[in-house]
């Protein structure tokens, strides 16, 4: 006889509500034209606010800016960080542990303070209010995911797998491309998605370095929510979620819960 884990069921339902509840509410709001108390569901549905949002230049530009910015920053960070992670995993060099630890240490400092000091430097370099200035700063948000998860993943690949390929005649580069990369793919995909999402939702750095010329989606969202038009904010929220959801679905092939957990040393 199987015993129904009643407590577990309650936990599952309440966790599901806590996680999905807000998301569902926001999605409902995005398609609601009229939704007043005491109605449980919107009384009038429509795409009115979607047309309103897309009709405005001030909305379209930040969306495109954000997507371009995030894609460039995440990809560049990956190109720099993944080989570095491989070095951390496979090579022994002095100061390795200290360096690896420094990436976490940077997270311990309040980000805002860090960005202020960077802004001072960037001001001298003329990078404030510049698209590439924001790209550089946003890459910082990715470093933790892009170094730690891949390092653990590379470390988790048995050296014999690479040695066997090398022994059979492959060059070091081909071993990396044909064996190491595919083996680490689940964790690499996880690190990419996590970094992408964290950059997309980054507010502080965009505000400090990008302002006033560069406006990103989260900045727009902040300014809109101050105007208290719930539907407009909801539409924007859904818009921000779309790229994340697409990325998640794409990477589902590679990404496993185990891959992510491995990244954090599990």
């Amino acid at each position: 006889m199987k015993r129904t884990p009643f407590g577990g069921l309650i936990l599952l339902v309440s966790m599901g509500l806590a996680m999905l509840g807000p998301i569902v509410t926001v999605i409902l709001w995005a398609f609601a034209v009229k939704w007043r108390y005491p109605h449980l569901l919107p009384t009038e549905w429509g795409l009115k606010y979607w047309f309103a949002m897309f009709g405005r230049e001030t909305v379209i530009t930040p969306i495109l800016t954000s997507l371009a910015l995030t894609s460039i920053a995440t990809t560049t960070a990956a190109l720099i960080c993944w080989p570095a992670a491989y070095a951390f995993a496979r090579l022994k060099f002095p100061g390795r542990q200290l360096l690896l630890f420094s990436f976490i240490a940077a997270q311990a400092v309040p980000k805002f303070a860090l960005f202020v000091s960077i802004a001072v430097i960037f001001l001298k370099l003329g990078l404030v209010g510049n698209f590439w200035g924001v790209v550089v700063v946003q890459m910082l948000s990715a470093v933790l995911f892009m170094i730690w998860i891949p390092t653990a993943a590379f470390r988790g690949i048995p050296p014999a797998l690479e040695e066997a390929a090398f022994d059979l005649g492959a060059s070091r580069l081909r071993v990396f491309v044909l064996i190491t990369l595919p083996q680490a793919m689940p964790a690499l995909a996880a690190s990419y998605v996590l970094a992408f999402v964290s950059i997309l939702f980054e507010v502080d750095s965009a505000l400090l370095i990008g302002a006033p010329t560069i406006t990103t989606m989260p900045l727009l969202l902040m300014s809109l929510s101050a105007q208290i038009i719930v539907q407009e904010a909801a539409v924007l929220c859904v818009l921000i979620w779309v790229p994340c959801a697409v990325l998640l679905l794409l990477s589902r092939r590679f990404m496993t819960a185990r891959g992510i957990a491995q990244g954090f040393g599990a």
Binding site: P158, A164, D167, G169, A170, S171, Q183
Partner: protein, 353 residues
């Protein structure tokens, strides 16, 4: 074919391989045998090129390979952990070596199919490594090496992770395949039974040194060092003080015309025979192993003596028997001093004189 000369390797001050030299002829299967940590795997990795040695040379067919990287050496290695690539199917794993050599697709497919047929895994070409049993995985690992037609096949304890029954079957299979393809093979193992069964010659290693090289039977019958004698097969070992060409062996005095001093006396369990002038010992345990019976005896000196005999000659528990060695190996300082065939008890000889 393969020549290893004075290979030395030190890991952070600890010597792993010390001045190891031996040769392997074409088509020969040589086992590197020794306890774990004796340097046999390190030596194999040095031959493959995956580990660099501090000094010495490795040459294959007269060409010095010492400075050549692993991917440019005509060797291929089967790892203990099979080391198959989980993101490729069996055929892709096997074809890898040909793919990196830039062979056309059709040729890779043909050669891969032929080798898979050779190891009896044609039906598994599309499977992923995760869907294979341990024995199948190791056969794929072997096929992956065979397909590149290496001049020397290297195997690093390939069957250690498998269960005993399977291990035996794969051993037979490997031996047959190796003979058929005339493959020069170096096989690392810590299992002396495996080495005895497979090898044309065995290289016994201990503490990073090559102790003795020879055919399995010769190593068993005539070990040249105490280490080899104790590692290969069972031995009854006692130490005694040799004086005036006589030595005490479990309470009997045996004639032994060797220089005075401390000696280690070793005798195989099957080399004991019943003799009225022998050392008295009481039967403490009788173990029926099937083909033979192993008898543990306690001598008058309180030592354990092991005797193997045909099962119809197995004695009763508690019986006192007198035993003499038919062959007795004497070692001093780890080196062989002499091998006594049927050494005579001193009293018996005195009586006849």
């Amino acid at each position: 074919m393969l020549q290893i000369d004075s290979i030395t390797k030190t890991y952070q001050g600890t010597p792993a391989v010390r001045d190891a030299s031996f040769r392997v002829a074409r088509g020969e299967l040589v086992c590197l045998l020794g306890p774990s940590g004796c340097g046999k795997s390190t030596l194999l990795r040095i031959i493959s090129g995956l580990t660099a040695c501090d000094s010495g040379t490795v040459s294959i067919e007269g060409v010095d390979m010492t400075a050549t990287q692993a991917n440019r050496r005509p060797t291929a290695m089967v790892f203990q952990s099979h080391a198959l690539w989980s993101h490729m199917n069996v055929a892709q794993n096997v074809g890898f070596g040909l793919r990196v050599r830039g062979l056309p697709k059709a040729e890779i497919a043909a050669k891969t199919a032929a080798v898979l047929d050779l190891v009896g895994l044609s039906a598994f070409a599309k499977r992923l490594p995760a869907e294979l049993s341990g024995g199948q995985a190791q056969r794929v690992a072997l096929a992956r090496c065979l397909v590149v037609e290496p001049k020397v096949l290297l195997m690093d304890e390939p069957f250690s992770a498998l269960d005993a029954h399977l291990r035996k079957g794969l051993r037979e299979e490997l031996k047959a395949l190796q003979g058929r393809l005339d493959l020069t093979t170096i096989f690392v193992t810590h299992d002396q039974e495996e080495a005895m069964e497979l090898a044309d010659r065995i290289v016994v290693m201990q503490g990073g040194r090559v102790e003795q090289v020879g055919p399995p039977g010769a190593l068993y019958q005539n070990p040249s060092t105490l280490g080899v004698a104790q590692f290969i097969g069972a031995m009854n070992t006692c130490t005694s003080n040799l004086r005036h060409s006589a030595v005490d062996w479990y309470g009997v005095t045996l004639r032994m015309p060797l220089p005075d001093g401390e000696v280690a006396l070793l005798c195989r369990p099957e080399d004991l025979s019943i003799d009225p002038n022998g050392a008295a010992a009481r039967v403490a345990r009788v173990i029926d192993l099937g083909p033979v019976t192993k008898v543990n005896l306690i001598t008058e000196t309180g030592d354990l003596l092991t005797w193997t005999c045909p099962r119809d000659q197995a004695p009763d528990l508690g019986r006192v028997m007198t035993l003499l060695p038919r062959r007795l190996h004497a070692f001093r300082g780890g080196a062989l001093m002499g091998l006594m065939e049927a050494p005579l008890p001193a009293q018996a000889q005195g009586a006849t004189a």
